[in-house]
């Protein structure tokens, strides 16, 4: 029996894998020590667990455990990376380059630095969500200290040419940071292979717990430093003070280990399932895939259904938990800025759905999602005056709409 509603919003967060939870539990009660307590076995045991997890967390991105700074999650990691580099390398320059389709944790951090005197370039993306490497090259300045480009986009799953971006940054003497929140554990994110200097990731997008993440900070070729944004006891080599979240770290470690071991088989299974979902939904007339089809994450898809309104559509797919390109909680509808950046008009941006599959998704769930989505789109179109006009060959742009 299918249990409703079906969760297909795994780009927002994933459930904790039971194997992860199992490993975490003792660290709430029996092994509850403070990893910074050096004087007794309670502290030693906690520290031992953190050391082990730090290796697991490093391994999934091909890093050394000395390069891992634990944080509260990717938002904090992005803040630490960007603000920390800005402060540390202030003598060298104040220019940072990023994309308009980055997560708010990067964009708003950059906006904050702009107020402090930073020079920020926000590169637009191509219609398929990919960066234009020539534009990046042209945007580089002698004062550029950092290029920050996300590994994979959270709304459309598009994977950027990370190796090429890193090479351009390095050629001009800048560091390269990537927000790899959506990518780690889903695709190869080896920091040495791609030439990454700083990388943000978090546990809760890869079947680990919420509230724990990490920033990878390269130690060799070059040795990268960031100025701490949280002052205190000097934890994490002085880069991030605060008592370590030991159960969270243990869970993050286990989640990384499982991801490393199972990534390839998960990706193969999920991309098949995703393709089936996507192909079925694209059979509907006037439905469009958002983002590059080739360079993207294996487990998600983002589709726009023309002539259907987003919030009405969400109501029609009430038994599947998905995300809409429309922020429809307020009276003023704000379509997704990521989809707008791809050049989609407001209507198409509003009527998009993002499906994110997980390790726990089943074929039955996908069948159900296909049927409910198709039914909802068809039903809403039958009652849509815009669909009727489209079918009659009327150009909607030719109508003088009374905007309210």
């Amino acid at each position: 029996m299918l249990k409703l509603p079906i969760y297909l919003d795994n780009n927002a967060t994933t459930p904790v894998d039971p194997r992860v939870l199992q490993d975490m539990l003792p660290y709430f009660t029996d092994v509850f020590g403070n990893a910074a307590s050096r004087n007794h076995p309670f502290g030693w045991k906690a520290e031992e667990a953190v050391d082990y997890a730090r290796e697991q967390v490093a391994q999934v991105i091909g890093a050394s455990e000395k390069e891992i700074i634990f944080t509260s999650g990717a938002t904090e990691s992005n803040n630490l990376a960007i603000k920390g580099v800005y402060e540390m390398y202030a003598e060298k320059g104040n220019h940072i380059i990023t994309l308009t389709t980055e997560h708010k944790a990067v964009l708003d951090t950059c906006k904050h630095l702009e107020k402090m005197g930073a020079d920020i370039t926000y590169l637009s993306v191509k219609g398929d969500g990919m960066i234009d490497l020539d534009e990046l090259e042209a945007a580089m300045k002698p004062t550029t200290i950092l290029v920050s480009v996300m590994f994979a986009n959270n709304e459309i799953g598009v994977i950027q040419p990370i190796k090429e971006i890193a090479a351009i940054a390095h050629k001009h003497g800048a560091l390269f940071h990537t927000d790899a929140t959506q990518a780690v554990g889903k695709v190869n994110t080896d920091v040495n292979e791609f030439g990454i200097d700083l990388l943000s990731y978090t546990a809760h997008k890869m079947y680990g717990p919420k509230g724990i993440g990490a920033l990878y900070v390269r130690r060799k070729n070059p040795r990268v430093k960031v100025t701490a944004q949280m002052d205190g006891g000097g934890h994490e080599r002085g880069m991030r003070s605060g008592t370590l979240n030991v159960p969270g770290i243990v869970g993050f470690g286990k989640a990384c280990e499982l991801a490393r071991l199972e990534m390839n088989q998960d990706a193969a299974r999920l991309s098949k399932m995703r393709d089936r979902l996507e192909n079925s939904l694209l059979e509907l007339e006037e439905s469009y895939l958002n983002g590059n089809k080739e360079h993207r994450l294996p487990h998600c898809t983002n589709i726009s259904f023309k002539y259907v309104e987003g919030e009405g559509l969400m109501m029609g797919v009430k038994d599947i938990a998905v995300s809409s390109g429309s922020a429809c909680t307020s009276a003023s509808l704000e379509p997704s800025y990521v989809l707008k950046a791809l050049g989609l008009d407001d209507e198409l941006a509003h009527s998009s759905l993002r499906f994110g599959l997980s390790r726990f998704s089943t074929d039955e769930e996908i069948d159900f999602a296909i049927n409910q989505t198709k039914e909802a789109v068809t039903k809403l179109r039958e009652m849509s005056p815009l669909w009727e006009m489209f079918k009659e060959g009327i150009d909607l742009k030719s109508i003088a709409w009374a905007e309210h």
Binding site: E309, G310, M315, S330, D345, E382, S384, P385, L386, E388
Partner: protein, 134 residues
């Protein structure tokens, strides 16, 4: 967002979806809203010329559940009403009947606008002066 039972009922079982022949003289069509705002309502009435009574009403709406419910309810209320009584339908009546939350009041306003636009289309077609719409 939680929808009221009545909104869910109208969304799941909309009344009077469809299209009337807009070329007919006794059919009035109102098309209000704009695609980029996320709401477009088309509401049509068929009027018995002799009695001035609305004999049929149909709608099609592109919009959220509340917009669909507002227009569906409007068609229900319009059928059998005289034009004069139809003009008395106030958007707050719709808000009350469907228990719309404040952020959805604009859906009821749009439905009222659609009623008035349909009536004015009918009046213009029949050489009557359009009523003033806010």
């Amino acid at each position: 967002m939680a929808y009221s039972e009545k909104v869910i009922d109208h969304y799941s079982n909309p009344r009077n979806i469809g299209t009337l022949d807009k070329s007919k003289n006794n059919v009035g069509t109102g098309l209000v809203g704009a695609p980029e705002c996320g709401d477009v309502m088309r509401l049509q009435i068929e009027v018995d010329d002799a009695t001035g009574t609305i004999t049929d009403a149909k709608f099609k709406t592109f919009g959220c559940g509340s917009a669909i419910a507002s227009s569906s309810l409007a068609t229900e209320w319009l059928k059998g009403k005289s034009i004069d009584d139809a003009l008395k339908i106030d958007n707050m009546d719709i808000v009350e009947e469907l228990a719309l939350p404040p952020v959805k009041i604009h859906c009821s306003v749009l439905a009222e606008d659609a009623i008035k636009a349909a009536i004015n289309d009918y009046r213009t077609k029949n050489n009557l002066t359009p009523i003033e719409v806010h």
